[in-house]
Symmetry: C2
């Protein structure tokens, strides 16, 4: 099976390495506008060859669309125009928007909208990992609109990678990821900006920061070009969660301003309930 990866970054690169390692694909063709990324991907053995979009589609059986979500949305109609029996799937963090684009295309049955629930704060081909997806969840959206052979191929591919598949409506997916992923990134970005704004002695951060700080600020290193279109596409859901989050922070503020340790205790003990969900 020959794979074309459009966008050879953290996600596309990790997919290529994982599929190669498992022997699921015999050849990986890379497509990327960034010449440095093309070279790195070749050097790192992530792709076997770099081609134009048209040539890559013609030379492959499955096509992974792993660009930032705004680019994926723009490329999808072009790709579906060129596709015959091939299967196209994306790995984007938002699903409603791209599903809407696919739905206007006559070849929509060849497109499988997916979202593997894995990532790191790093980006580019050098960040790709060959064991990225093992034991993780992946989402497939709106499965009834997909050609059965195309769906089966991508289901098998994710299962062979050791992932478990969750089927979900695209609209519901976007609501859920606002809670379990997008808001975490916003709080982390905002926390980094808070510390950079207020703590002028960066030596103090460097020397004093322990695991807790690292843990909550880690995501603030995440790639801006990737995250801006995610937040813009999922604006309504993200704003909804962000408003709730600001209102939760205001409760902490009120408990401190009013010197009310009982209220503060109540807020923290409620937060501790997350233990039931996250081990």
């Amino acid at each position: 099976m020959r794979l074309a990866v459009i966008g050879i970054g953290l996600m596309g690169g990790s997919l290529a390495l994982s599929l190669k390692k498992k022997g699921i694909v015999s050849k990986v063709i890379g497509v990327d506008q960034n010449i440095d990324h093309q070279k790195q991907a070749l050097q790192l053995g992530i792709v076997d060859e770099v081609m134009s979009l048209e040539d890559a589609i013609a030379a492959s059986d499955i096509i992974a669309l792993a660009t930032p979500v705004n680019v994926a949305e723009k490329l999808l109609p072009t790709i579906l125009n060129l596709v015959n029996k091939q299967v196209v799937f994306d790995l984007g963090s938002t699903k409603e928007s791209i599903v809407n684009v696919a739905n206007t295309h006559s070849n929509k049955g060849r497109f499988v909208p997916t979202h593997p629930m894995w990532g790191t704060e790093f980006s580019g081909p050098a960040a790709a990992q060959s064991d990225a997806f093992i034991d993780k969840a992946t989402v497939i959206c709106n499965k009834t609109q997909i050609d059965p052979d195309a769906l089966l191929r991508i289901e098998q591919l994710y299962e062979q990678l050791g992932m478990h598949i969750l089927y979900m409506d695209a609209i519901k997916h976007d609501i859920h990821v606002a809670y379990v992923s997008h808001i975490s990134h916003i709080t982390s970005f905002a926390l980094a900006n808070t510390v950079l704004e207020k703590e002028k002695e960066s030596n103090a951060i460097f020397e004093l920061a322990s695991g807790g700080f690292e843990s909550t600020v880690r995501l603030a290193k995440s790639n801006a070009e990737m995250w801006v279109p995610i937040f813009m596409q999922n604006k309504e859901n993200v704003l909804d969660v962000l408003n709730e989050h600001i209102s939760q922070l205001r409760k902490f503020k009120a408990s401190l301003e009013k010197e009310n340790p009982d209220y503060l205790l109540e807020l923290i003990q409620n937060a501790n309930k997350i233990k039931r969900i996250l081990k």
Copy 2:
């Protein structure tokens, strides 16, 4: 050298295990109001014996005060009343308040205010780790007020554990930890409350949550009884940082509401500067 640990939880337990493992102390005496914790600490080999506060002080050379910070502050005068040549040090996350308490006592030279920059979201003796402090920083505050022999003993103890010592004014310490530790915990608690409030399908959290969510919400499991007094003691600094944090989050909100991707990009790229500080 015989060590008394007042409060056998995550911090006190880890200190006892670490000092035992390195052969720095020959005996550990535990003091704890919680009978379950006493039993666990004995069973886990964290302490060799459990005694009353008075007996423990009489039978030891160094005394580690590792209770929640409000309890430490209350116990310190009693401990300093009982101390003769022994050295007392605390491990609390706030320093100004306890230093002020010490300063009113004639035996203040025997007290070394410290803060090892290590912790986890877990609590109690079962959470203690014997390699907790290796390669971490520890803060010693207001060193000029400490008897030279007492200071030297605690410096040597931390160095033998593989820690590097930062000397800091207690007031400055409390400002810095508000940025590098306390705000991380508040955002994490508030994030947990946000998700618990808005996401009623906890199965979706469980199934979709990946590394990013886990990372930012991990601290929300932290012990409420430990953190309430920390936040209350460091109220002014925490409020200062919390206000800045809410204002930073409002910028993200504004960029989304105004559908301004350029502003959003600017905010995220600024947050990315944290890479210079955290590798």
